[in-house]
């Protein structure tokens, strides 16, 4: 089996090297075949691994590949830990990646239009794109398969690198290269937390190896206390909070969320793969992987609940006022990531991870559907120029309907099972008295209405109502080819059905028991499972579950969207006028961007300039260095003719003079006079 585990990340790495370094020689057709072949191998093998671990023996595979370095008893290694959690992640990552790879053939087919005439960077851009998404698949697999924090951080930063390269893929666009720098820097803020979290783990648990850390946790290693920021806390809390800061960066939680909407500057396939289905869920994966640590720290869990809750509700609200089709979905992603964190904060780890999985399918589907619309409209993304596309894009229409229904949590669809369990679990956590859970419960419940409203606002604006595109575009409207529609259909199937099939074992059962730890004191999923009688009755129950009116909130959201965008558009104008002030707040996205560019970016440059001109230039060079030179010069002038009598003065003058003469001799006179 060793070779299987090794091949899974290695195949896409080799694909990336082949298409990246020799793309020009391979040509576009061979390049995408190599890239897709590599991911196909990884996908098949990942499903074999899922089969073995998921149905058979749940014992994890834990093996070191090689020793990165070893010093004074600290062994830093590269190795794999594959249990059910990583097996599920591997299957999701490779499957979505494969769909996106195939879809890319269609999306990037006419990419040469996006490059200026004669651009060298545009020449092999198609091959380079495949190299990047291959490399991404490799990095993401290394991240989820890691058996230690070092490799986790490797994968973490590597997916960030590829994200940077792909957001700025169309590097002649000023908005794209602004967005990728912003994404990288905001992520780096989170990474600082992550790195310090790793430092905490090493200092207090004595190792970076997961298994060793978990052993140390069981032995009480996290209970040491220390004082920081004037408060006393346990090492477990410090580590958990710092690692969560890293997770906030990568998974775009408030206030480190600002990069994700801008990341939509990248080509749509990567919005689906990286900025919706996989990379942004790395933070969720991290917290879930570290569940034994988080179970030790109620403060960290409360923080996660509050941050997740804020993101779930308030980022969803911004989605209501966006006009760019991709940005709506991006804000939806932020909000859904908030849901996942809320689940983790409520100790319903399996539900959070489960929502990660269902979300990967239906969000990738929605993005790829949006991409299909964008291709059909010749790369226009403004929903105000769409409308009535149902007629022209039937496959996209139906698959996106499935995706939207899944997203808003319609009973029987995948998203229903994952989201409903989260809401129930947070409710239980609030009853249990976990700080922050009550607030999070309100947020996720209100978020259901918001989710339904923005999802169907998008749906109605794009597919129903008047056809608002120009005549030329309308003439050429047609559904893209099979490379686009087949991935849509293949993603629509799990978006509709996977919940029905898997919620029993994965959430209600103990499928994840070997990977996710839940403390004795509070086990919300056990409580929910006690009243679980199969997926169908669970879904039917949603219609008369008055303690959790999520279904009716979602229905209300859809109804409001229908009313304002289809039935009574004139009311929309009224609503906009009445609510102009909150609308402004949402359109400015609460002012985070202004605060960061005006505060941190401009402030940092201002301080830098002040230090450079003021301290370096004026004080050190101006007064200390040149001033000393001048003073020495004046003194020397005063005592010129008087011999100092110090040997080292002479020696110094001699060497200096010798060098100057030598330079003059070799260098010639001219240059010196000009200088």
């Amino acid at each position: 089996m060793d070779i299987v585990y090794l091949l899974i990340p290695l195949a896409p790495l080799l694909g990336a090297i082949a298409t990246g370094l020799f793309g020009g020689r391979l040509g576009w057709r061979l390049a995408h075949r190599v890239a897709i072949g590599a991911v196909a191998i990884a996908t098949v093998l990942s499903f074999v691994v899922l089969w073995v671990h998921g149905l058979g023996d749940p014992a994890p595979y834990n093996k070191t590949l090689y020793q990165w370095l070893s010093i004074a008893g600290v062994d830093l290694e590269i190795g794999f830990l594959v249990d059910r959690l990583s097996a599920m992640m591997m299957a999701v990552v490779t499957f979505v990646s494969l769909m996106v790879h195939i879809y890319t053939i269609g999306y990037m087919a006419d990419d040469h239009h996006n490059w200026p005439e004669g651009s060298g960077a545009g020449k092999n851009a198609y091959q380079r794109f495949f190299a990047y998404i291959n490399l991404f698949t490799f990095a993401m697999l290394m991240l989820v398969m890691a058996n230690n924090f070092l490799q986790l951080f490797f994968g973490w930063e590597a997916v960030g690198l590829v994200s940077y390269l792909l957001i700025g893929f169309w590097l002649n666009r000023p908005t794209a290269i602004f967005a990728n720098l912003k994404a990288f820097l905001v992520n780096r803020v989170g990474d600082l937390g992550f790195l310090l979290g790793i430092g905490t783990v090493l200092a207090y648990f004595g190792s970076l190896d997961y298994a060793a850390v978990f052993e140390s946790i069981e032995a009480g290693g996290g209970e040491a206390t220390l004082t920081l920021f004037g408060t006393e806390m346990t090492a477990a809390t410090l580590a958990a909070v710092l690692l969560f800061v890293g997770a906030m960066g990568k998974s775009a939680q408030v206030p480190l969320h600002v990069w994700l909407p801008d990341s939509m500057e990248g080509p749509t396939p990567i919005s689906a793969l990286i900025h919706a289905a996989t990379m942004v869920t790395a933070g969720i994966f991290l917290v879930a992987r570290m569940s034994p640590l988080y179970e030790l720290s109620t403060p960290a869990q409360s923080l996660i609940l509050v941050i997740g809750g804020i993101t779930a509700l308030f980022m969803g609200l911004v989605g209501l006022v966006q006009n760019d089709i991709k940005r709506v979905i991006a804000y939806s992603t932020l909000s859904q990531l908030g849901y996942m964190f809320v689940a983790l904060g409520a100790s319903a780890h399996a539900a959070g991870v489960y929502h990660l999985m269902t979300h990967a399918f239906f969000k990738a589907l929605l993005f790829l559907g949006a991409g299909s619309v964008i291709i059909a409209l010749h790369h226009r993304q403004d929903m105000r120029e769409m409308g009535g596309l149902r007629r022209y894009l039937p496959v996209t229409y139906w698959t996106m309907l499935i995706g939207s229904l899944a997203l808003i949590g319609t009973p029987f669809f995948a998203g229903f099972y994952s989201k409903d369990v989260i809401i129930e679990a947070v409710g239980l956590a609030a009853e249990h008295g976990r700080p922050g859970a009550g607030f999070a419960w309100f947020c996720v419940l209100a978020g259901v209405f918001v989710t339904a409203a923005y999802s169907f606002r998008l749906f109605f604006l794009v597919f129903h109502g008047q056809e608002r595109m120009d005549a030329h575009t309308r003439e050429h409207l047609h559904e893209p080819g099979w490379v686009v529609t087949v991935p849509l259909v293949l993603l629509a199937i799990p978006s509709a059905l996977i919940g029905l099939v898997t919620v029993g074992p994965m959430v209600m059962g103990d499928w994840f028991a070997g990977s996710l730890t839940v403390g004795e004191q509070f086990q919300p999923l056990h409580h929910i499972a006690e009243h679980y009688h199969g997926p169908v009755s669970f879904a039917v129950h949603a219609f008369y579950n008055w303690g959790n009116p999520a279904f009716y909130l979602a229905a209300a959201g859809v109804f409001v969207a229908w009313l304002l965008y289809i039935r009574r558009p004139e009311w929309l104008v009224l609503v906009r006028e009445r609510l102009s002030w909150p609308r402004l707040v949402l359109e400015y996205k609460y002012g985070f961007d202004e605060m960061y560019t005006g505060g941190f970016a401009a402030g940092g440059r201002g301080v830098g300039r002040a230090l450079w001109r003021g301290a370096d230039g004026w004080l050190i060079d101006g007064i200390l260095v040149n001033g000393t030179a001048r003073t020495v010069g004046r003194i020397a002038a005063g005592i010129r003719g008087v011999q100092s009598g110090y040997l080292f003065h002479y020696a110094f003058a001699m060497i200096l003079g010798l060098l100057v003469l030598l330079t003059l001799f070799v260098g010639g006179w001219q240059g010196w006079w000009q200088a």
């Binding site: 090689y66 020793q67 990165w68 370095l69 070893s70 010093i71 004074a72 600290v74 200026p116 651009s119 060298g120 960077a121 545009g122 020449k123 092999n124 951080f153 490797f154 930063e157 590597a158 690198l161 940077y164 390269l165 590097l171 002649n172 000023p174 290269i177 602004f178 720098l181 990288f184 820097l185 780096r188 803020v189 990474d191 600082l192 790195l195 310090l196 790793i198 905490t200 200092a203 940092g604 440059r605 301080v607 830098g608 300039r609 230090l611 450079w612 370096d616 050190i620 060079d621 260095v625 080292f648 110094f652 060098l659 030598l662 330079t663 070799v666 260098g667 240059g671 000009q674 200088a675």
Partner: protein
């Protein structure tokens, strides 16, 4: 005492004699090929240091010892351990690259140019191999001469100011060191550096010696606030000069702390560690901020060098804080100490690569200003790939060499206290900000002007140089284990003697 082939002497004198011979050559072509031949031969010879190196011991190896000035007990005494051996290979490797990089770029007195670089190489190897304090001092001072000439003759318009500033700064620093070395020599009755390690001086004299060393080495590293010569020197130096300056000369400072300050005056080092730690953190944060607002690429990379070298000195001196705050300090302290040593090697690769990248652009457009460029990737896609790779290494991306040392130093510093690590960790943000902002303005975007539109991509020679560095940067980043294994025994012994 010479028992086997005098490999170290060969390494030192082959380039110096070869360099002198170049001065006699009339033909530029002959000089180029001769320089290439000598530098490659020296590089290949230096690989025997690696293959013949005995691991697991802190003892000096390849030792040569011949009496030199017998009346003062000064010997011609050479040897290497795990600290100096990697630096020697870095020197020989970098010199080959510099020779190739200057191939058809240097039109003015190429023979003299190559001679200066070969002599520089020999002298640098002497610095790292010298085991006699006076011999070390001779080589240490001798490095100034070729560098002074390189900047003074092949440098930019303001080279006079830059060379004088460079010379005065470094010369004043080293005079203090000479006094300290002579004092130590008389105290120990020997100038053998390892004998000086055994000295047990009273604290007051230790502090004085420490300060004398500090001035000499801090100028070289350079540490804030004696750093302002470096940006000026870099801006005026030709590309090759910048590469040698950043990749090798700065390392003399870091090496000096390891070879002299820490082992000879450990109590003073422990006493004054706050000063070094403070200055290192200032370098990382303050200089990082200054780097961000530079509009000259070379200045930006120069400031970035200062910030990165801050990790070297932080790693060396944080060990005393780790010892003070941990019951079992070895893991944390060794992480920091080794991290600092690795950072020296990595910075050698990364800064060399970045200066060579700027050189590639400068050779074509004759400007180092960031705003003279924009959209370079459209015309130089291969170059853009290299530049982004090295920028990422400079930003400390895992998988590149730039990550290894910073990661180790931050992990080690954490064990001395949360805030040391947190402040040092700001480099994650600052390093990415100044490096990638430069990349954004130079490499990305639309083609900025006619001159950029006429740029040609890197040629075979430039690809060779940048490709070799790319392999080194990624190789060290993916598997630093072998390098660490070579360094560990010597650093372990240093740690024990410094904190005993």
């Amino acid at each position: 005492m010479v028992e086997q082939t005098p490999l170290l002497s060969l390494l030192i004198w082959l380039p110096i004699i070869g360099g002198a011979a170049l001065l006699l050559m009339r033909s530029a072509d002959w000089a180029r090929w001769a320089a290439l031949g000598v530098s490659v031969a020296v590089f290949l010879l230096s690989l025997f240091l690696w293959t013949g190196f005995e691991g697991g011991t802190a003892a000096m190896q390849f030792v040569e010892r011949v009496p030199w000035i017998e009346s003062f007990d000064i010997d011609y005494h050479l040897g290497v351990d795990g600290i100096s051996m990697p630096l020697m290979i870095l020197t020989t490797f970098t010199t080959v690259l510099v020779v190739i990089a200057g191939w058809d770029v240097i039109r003015y007195k190429p023979a003299a140019y190559y001679a200066a670089f070969l002599i520089m190489e020999g002298v640098m190897l002497g610095v790292f191999a010298a085991l006699d304090a006076i011999l070390f001092y001779m080589f240490f001072e001798a490095t100034l001469i070729p560098m002074f000439l390189i900047i003074g003759i092949w440098g930019g318009p303001a080279r006079v100011y830059a060379t004088i500033k460079f010379f005065i700064y470094t010369f004043l620093g080293s005079v203090m060191m000479l006094v300290a070395l002579i004092y130590l020599g008389y105290q120990a009755g020997s100038f053998v550096i390892t004998d000086l390690h055994d000295l047990e001086l009273p604290l007051a004299s230790q502090v004085l010696v420490f300060l004398a060393f500090l001035i000499a080495f801090a100028v070289k590293v350079p540490m804030w606030p004696v750093h302002t010569w470096l940006p000026d020197a870099h801006v005026e130096a030709p590309t090759g000069g910048s590469v040698i300056l950043a990749a090798l000369m700065l390392k003399i400072g870091g090496y000096g702390f390891l070879r002299f300050s820490l082992p000879i005056v450990p109590e003073a080092s422990a006493q004054l560690d706050w000063l070094l730690i403070g200055l290192s953190l200032v370098a990382i944060v303050y200089v990082g901020l200054v780097a961000m607002v530079q509009d000259d690429m070379k200045k930006l990379i120069a400031y970035s060098s200062i910030a990165h070298m801050g990790f070297v000195t932080l790693g060396y001196f944080i060990i005393f804080r780790v010892v003070a705050s941990q019951a079992e300090p070895e893991a944390g302290a060794m992480l920091a100490l080794t991290g600092g040593a690795v950072q020296m090697i990595s910075h050698g690769f990364v800064s060399a690569a970045l200066f060579l990248c700027v050189g590639v652009l400068y050779d074509r457009l004759h400007s180092r200003r960031i705003d003279a460029y924009g959209g370079v990737a459209h015309r130089m896609p291969v170059f853009a790939g290299f530049f982004v790779l090295f920028a990422m290494a400079n930003a400390g991306l895992p998988g590149t060499s730039g990550f290894v040392g910073e990661f180790m130093v931050i992990l080690g510093s954490f064990q001395a206290g949360f805030w040391y690590a947190a402040i040092a960790g700001l480099t994650l943000i600052l390093g990415a900000a100044y490096t990638l902002w430069m990349i954004k303005r130079v490499v990305y975007g639309e083609v900025a002007n006619e001159e950029v539109a006429a740029l040609a991509d890197v040629n075979g020679r430039e690809r060779l140089v940048l490709g070799a560095l790319a392999v080194a940067v990624i190789g060290l980043g993916v598997w630093p284990g072998p390098l660490i294994d070579v360094m560990a025994p010597s650093l372990e012994q240093l740690f024990e003697s410094a904190t005993a």
